[in-house]
C-alpha cells in the first residue's frame, strides 16, 4: 500500500528528471571569429573560450562569451576593442539565445548534416537585437557539432566608430562560429 502510494510520484520524478537531462549538449571551448574588412586594413579576432548549449528536445540554443577573451594579433588593438568600442568593463559579455525546429533525424542523433533556421536575440555591447541565421548541425557517431556565419551591423549595437578610423573598421562585421558539443550532464 505504502509502496504504491510512492510509485506515481517517483515515476513522475524520473520522467521530469530524464526529460530535462536529455538532449542537451554543451561546449566551453567554442570558437567565435570576427572579421572586419575596410579599405585600410582587415581585422581578425578569435575567441576560443565560448560557452554554448543546445537543447535538441526543445530546439533551443544559447551562447555566452566574454569580450575580453577575444584575441587580436596586435595587443593594442585588443585594448582599443575592449576599452573604446565594446566597453568590456561595463558590458563584459555577448550572448545569444535562439530557437529552431529540430529535424527528426537530429532529434534521434542520426548521423548526417542538418541545416536549420535559427531565430533569436543577440546581445552585444548591452544592446539586444533580433537575429535570424542559418546554422549547420552535424552528427557524427553521437558527436554533435555546429557551424554558422552571420553579419553584425556595428551601428545596431550602439558602437560608434570615430571618423578618423572609419577607413580601418568595417560597418558590418562577419561573425563565424563553430562549436563541438559534448553531452551535458
Amino acid at each position: 500500500m505504502k509502496l504504491s502510494k510512492l510509485f506515481l510520484p517517483l515515476t513522475l520524478l524520473l520522467i521530469t528528471a530524464s526529460v530535462h537531462a536529455q538532449g542537451r549538449y554543451l561546449t566551453r571551448t567554442g570558437h567565435v571569429k570576427f572579421f572586419s574588412t575596410a579599405p585600410m586594413e582587415d581585422i581578425v579576432a578569435h575567441n576560443n573560450k565560448v560557452l554554448s548549449i543546445v537543447d535538441l528536445a526543445k530546439g533551443e540554443v544559447a551562447v555566452d562569451m566574454l569580450m575580453k577573451s577575444f584575441e587580436f594579433e596586435k595587443k593594442l588593438m585588443q585594448e582599443h576593442f575592449n576599452e573604446n568600442y565594446m566597453e568590456s568593463g561595463k558590458y563584459p559579455k555577448s550572448t545569444f539565445k535562439g530557437k529552431f525546429d529540430v529535424p527528426a533525424g537530429l532529434k534521434n542523433m542520426d548521423n548526417g548534416t542538418y541545416e536549420v533556421d535559427v531565430t533569436g536575440e543577440i546581445s552585444i555591447h548591452g544592446v539586444k537585437k533580433p537575429l535570424a541565421t542559418k546554422a549547420t548541425l552535424t552528427v557524427d557517431n553521437g558527436v554533435l557539432s555546429c557551424g554558422l556565419v552571420f553579419n553584425v551591423k556595428v551601428k545596431d549595437h550602439d558602437i560608434s566608430i570615430p571618423k578618423v578610423v572609419v577607413k580601418n573598421i568595417a560597418e558590418v562585421v562577419e561573425v563565424t562560429a563553430s562549436f563541438n558539443f559534448e553531452v551535458y550532464k
Binding site: 510520484p9 533551443e60 566574454l66 578610423v165
Partner: protein, 285 residues
C-alpha cells in the same frame, strides 16, 4: 487528494532542481571564473613629463615625439614662447609584455637617455585579485653639451640616474591615479645642491569622453637643498586618442623632458605664468 498533493510536491521539487530552463542562466553558471586584468589605466607611457605604469606589449614599437615651447608669459616678442622649442625623440620597444626598453634624445643640453621598465604587478579582479598596478623604472641620462657651470666637466660629470616605483590604480572607468616614489642621483652638482634627490610624483587621468582625457601631474621634492632656485614640476594636459596615436597637449613649468631635469631642476614657477606649452605625440607600430 493526499496522493495528489504529494505528487504535486514532488513535481515542484524536481522542477526546482532542474530550474535551469533558461539556457542563458545555465551558461552564466557554467562560466568559469577568470582573472580580469584592468585595461588602459593610462593610454600612454607618459602622463605629462613622467612615466606611467604602462609598458608596451611584446614586439610593439612606440615612436614618441615630445616638445616644449618657451614660456607663454615671454610676451609677443617671443610669440608667447613659440619661437623657442625643445624636442625629445625616442624609440621605446616592448621586449616582452612586461619589459619595455627605450632610448631617446633631448635637444636641451643634448641629453641622450635610456631606460628600462618592468611591470611587476597588474591590477585585476576575479580569480586573482590585485588592487594596484606596479611598474619599476630605471633610467640613465648622459648630457653631451658642455657645461659652463662646472670647471671640470668630464664624462662622469655628465651622467645622472633616475629610479622610480610607479604605483597606479584605475579607480573606475573614468579615473586613474598614480603615485611615483622617485630617486634621482646626479654625479656632479653645483655648490648648495644635493647629489641625491628624493621626490614623489602624483598623477591622475580623468576621461572626459571616449577619446578625450584630462591629465595632471605633480612632482614633490622631499630633499631640501640650500639652493632654492628650483620649483616642483607641475603639469596639466589634454589627451586625445585615435587608434594607434596618442596626442598630448601639455602645459607645464618644466622645460626639459628628461627625468633628472624636470624633477630636480625645474626653474619655472607655474603660478607665476612660467608655463611651457608642448605636445607629446605617440605612435605605436
Amino acid at each position: 487528494m493526499k496522493r495528489i498533493t504529494i505528487t504535486m510536491l514532488f513535481v515542484l521539487c524536481t522542477t526546482g532542481i532542474y530550474a535551469q530552463d533558461d539556457l542563458l542562466d545555465l551558461l552564466n553558471d557554467e562560466q568559469e571564473e577568470s582573472t580580469d586584468y584592468v585595461l588602459a589605466t593610462f593610454k600612454g607611457q607618459r602622463l605629462i613629463n613622467g612615466h606611467t605604469v604602462v609598458t608596451r606589449k611584446t614586439s610593439e614599437l612606440e615612436f614618441l615625439i615630445s616638445h616644449r615651447f618657451g614660456r607663454v608669459n615671454s610676451g609677443i616678442k617671443e610669440f608667447f614662447g613659440l619661437d623657442a622649442a625643445n624636442v625629445r625623440f625616442s624609440l621605446e620597444y616592448g621586449l616582452t609584455d612586461r619589459i619595455t626598453a627605450g632610448i631617446g634624445r633631448n635637444s636641451l643640453q643634448k641629453v641622450y637617455d635610456g631606460f628600462i621598465k618592468y611591470n611587476l604587478l597588474r591590477q585585476s579582479t576575479g580569480k586573482t585579485q590585485m588592487p594596484i598596478t606596479v611598474t619599476g623604472l630605471s633610467s640613465i641620462a648622459i648630457r653631451t653639451a658642455d657645461s659652463f657651470e662646472f670647471a671640470e666637466d668630464d664624462f662622469n660629470s655628465k651622467v645622472s640616474y633616475t629610479h622610480q616605483l610607479l604605483i597606479a590604480r584605475k579607480l573606475n572607468d573614468k579615473v586613474s591615479v598614480q603615485v611615483s616614489p622617485t630617486y634621482v642621483h646626479r654625479n656632479k652638482i653645483l655648490e648648495n645642491q644635493a647629489n641625491d634627490i628624493f621626490a614623489v610624483g602624483l598623477g591622475g587621468r580623468v576621461k572626459l569622453t571616449q577619446r578625450l582625457a584630462l591629465n595632471a601631474e605633480y612632482f614633490y621634492r622631499l630633499t631640501d637643498e640650500l639652493d632654492n632656485s628650483f620649483n616642483d614640476a607641475i603639469g596639466v594636459g589634454l589627451e586625445i586618442e585615435t587608434g594607434g596615436h596618442v596626442f598630448h597637449l601639455n602645459f607645464t613649468n618644466a622645460r626639459s623632458m628628461a627625468e633628472r631635469a624636470f624633477i630636480t631642476e625645474t626653474t619655472g614657477d607655474f603660478f607665476n605664468g612660467d608655463i611651457h606649452f608642448g605636445f607629446n605625440i605617440s605612435r605605436v607600430f
